[in-house]
């Protein structure tokens, strides 16, 4: 096995090489550390070589003892929104300068227990607030925007932009991400990789730096649905003592449906009661706002799914457009409350000069938070304030219910919903950085599923304008991740899109 091609292998393939002793976990860790440390996309924020190699050595011992766990010895990197004992955690913010967590996030712990080896921590928008990974204010001397491996003049998407760029540039075969309004699905689409946000409550939020607690959800990002299924099985599970919102449903093997009927028309029997899989195509997702190149790639993908035996049926999600104001009221409201803990007392940054306690709070927070985070705190303070609560926050929560109900009506007519992840391919760095509203509007297709708490994923379906990747979003009903992953897997068994590597990535 030549070292040179290790980073082009999937998790499943890498695991087979470890099992057949063609290579050791330590050699794998060295290879990816070396690539990650030479990264030119600014995807990584922190390394701790000693910790990484210690994990690799421990994994090798388990391998030597015959342990057959599917993720044992495989490398991963974590979005810097998950707290970690061995690495600093900044959430991309100055306010967490020099913060060291006394514990590991449950998701990090679960993947470590599965034997995965942490390569480092990945850049993200500050407190996961952003769609371009441009809202970064990390404490490093020169915070640099993460670039898209397909075109370094473009954004990688966000907020899990470091995760998506690192997987696309083959710096790691897998990464964790978090998704509040699309932060796994959109960067996965923009970087041509596969990512899934499970049903709200599947993955523990313990140790995930909180942004909007009724929306935040962790999930895996990798190159294929097959790899994502393995990762999702390991990272989900009840955490009853530490996260009161974690669902008390049994741990699932999300790979279990992937072996399902092979052959020419695997989706002809993948629907309800063994019938053809019905794919709902919401007309609101295919309107004027959708760029022609994205539309063309999606049309071709839907045709491909029909060839695999699926039926495409028209459905409606009539309140799609309302999801923008609803989300951008609810998420900032929750954020303004969650971020009140950053006050310069118990952890993180504290301003140097101040006159009294109130002044210390104000200066600390004004120095520590970046402009997008401040903007959202201000929106949150406004919509929760006396006299505005009913008109904004309560009204948004009521429409949120209507959006969730719309999905249940739609699922009476279909098994899964397919549509775009974003209206366009990745835009140029700086294009929308001075226009927060333009960023918010581009989230239109990912927000509805987030508000409802439904599982959603993104998979690459071809290239659009300027040779940039286009992602297709699949949305399932609650707890149907295994089915979503199977649809994506069958698609990937018959198409090459997920195997494409950005030019320049050797």
């Amino acid at each position: 096995m030549s070292d040179q091609s290790l980073h082009h292998l999937s998790l499943v393939q890498l695991r087979a090489h470890l099992a057949s002793q063609q290579i050791s976990a330590t050699e794998v860790a060295h290879h990816f550390l070396q690539r990650a440390q030479a990264d030119t996309h600014h995807a990584f924020l922190a390394f701790h070589e000693e910790a990484t190699l210690a994990q690799a050595a421990a994994a090798q011992q388990r391998l030597d003892a015959g342990d057959s766990s599917p993720l044992l010895g495989l490398p991963i990197a974590h979005k810097d929104i998950f707290v970690t004992r061995d690495f600093p955690t900044t959430a991309g913010s100055r306010i967490l300068e020099n913060y060291r967590s006394p514990f590991d996030a449950t998701v990090v712990q679960r993947l470590a227990d599965a034997g995965m080896v942490t390569i480092g921590k990945l850049s993200c928008d500050e407190f996961a607030m952003g769609s371009a990974n441009e809202n970064i204010a990390v404490p490093s001397a020169k915070p640099e925007a993460v670039t898209n491996p397909w075109d370094v003049s473009r954004i990688p998407g966000g907020s899990s932009g470091g995760s998506a760029a690192a997987v696309a540039a083959r710096l790691v075969p897998a990464a964790t991400g978090t998704d509040t309004g699309g932060s796994i699905r959109q960067p996965a689409a923009f970087c041509g990789i596969t990512g899934i946000k499970p049903t709200y409550g599947r993955a523990s939020r313990y140790g995930m730096v909180a942004f909007a607690s009724s929306l935040d959800q962790a999930g895996p990002m990798a190159r294929s649905a097959e790899d994502c299924a393995l990762l999702l099985s390991a990272l989900c599970g009840p955490d009853p003592d530490r996260d009161s919102t974690s669902l008390n449903v049994a741990t699932e093997d999300f790979s279990r449906l992937l072996q399902a009927p092979q052959g020419d028309q695997p989706l002809a029997t993948a629907g309800k009661d063994g019938g053809a899989l019905k794919i709902g195509m919401p007309k609101e997702f295919f309107g004027d706002g959708l760029a022609a190149d994205v539309r063309a790639a999606l049309d071709a993908a839907l045709k491909q799914l029909e060839q695999l035996g699926a039926h495409v049926v028209p459905i409606q999600l009539p309140r799609t457009e309302l999801s923008i104001p609803v989300y951008y009221i609810i998420a900032p409201a929750e954020a303004s409350s969650n971020l009140s803990r950053f006050d310069g007392v118990k952890f993180g940054h504290r301003a140097k000069d101040f006159t009294d306690l109130a002044d210390m709070y104000q200066k600390t927070r004004s120095e520590g938070f970046g402009s997008e985070v401040k903007r959202r705190i201000m929106i949150g303070s406004y919509v929760l304030s006396h006299g505005y609560y009913d008109a904004y926050y309560l009204q948004a929560q009521k429409i949120r219910r209507m959006i969730a109900d719309d999905f249940q009506t739609a699922f009476e007519h279909c098994d899964v919903i397919a549509g775009p992840v974003a209206p366009t391919v990745a835009w140029k760095l700086g294009d929308k950085s001075n226009n927060p509203l333009a960023n918010y509007l581009a989230d239109i297709f990912t927000l509805p599923a987030s508000l409802a708490g439904l599982p959603g994923m993104s998979l690459p379906v071809g290239l659009g304008e300027a040779g940039l990747p286009v992602g297709m979003q699949l949305i399932g009903n609650y707890l149907t991740e295994a089915q979503l992953l199977n649809v994506a897997h069958q698609f990937q068994l018959h198409t090459p899109h997920h195997l494409k590597t950005p030019g320049g990535v050797a």
Binding site: R100, P102, Y200, G201, S214, L215, P240, S244, T245, L247, N248, V249, R319, E321, L322, P325, Y328, I329, V345, K346, F347, G348, H349, R350, F354, D356, L357, A358, Q362, K363, R365, F369, S371, K374, R375, I377, M378, I379, S381, Y382, S385, A391, Y392, L394, Q395, Q397, K398, I399, R401, A404, D405, Q408, P436, L437, Y440, L441, A452, N477, Y478, L479
Partner: protein, 110 residues
């Protein structure tokens, strides 16, 4: 209705944030742009709609036909017992100012 500079000052005070004059004006304009998009919410008839604070609430409703699935879908409280070890030193490691195990803040009582 749009936000004025005074509103921005009041919200900044509530948020424990400070904006200088140019930043404050920029923010006022950005928030006013945003609240134009919010206006479309007003036209929605939400009489008799129960506010949805949390997705788990919607999931319970969805799985009500399957009692075994809805069992795990609720927000719970754990028993009120001590479950963590005392890790005061580790927990205070990232605090800006600590003395004898206490967090230091500026004097609040004259």
């Amino acid at each position: 209705m749009s936000l004025t500079s005074n509103d921005i000052q009041r919200l900044a005070q509530l948020s424990r944030l400070h904006f200088d004059a140019p930043a404050s004006e920029r923010l006022r304009d950005q928030l006013n742009d945003f609240f134009k998009v919010v206006e479309q919410m007003r036209a929605v008839d939400t009489r008799d709609v129960v506010p949805m604070a949390h997705p788990i609430d919607a999931m319970r409703h969805f799985s009500s036909h399957d009692p075994s699935a809805s069992e795990g879908m609720h927000l719970r409280l754990r028993d009120d017992v001590v479950s963590e070890n005392n890790q005061r030193e580790t927990n205070q490691r990232s605090a800006p100012a600590v003395e004898r195990g206490l967090f230091l803040v500026p004097k609040v009582i004259e």
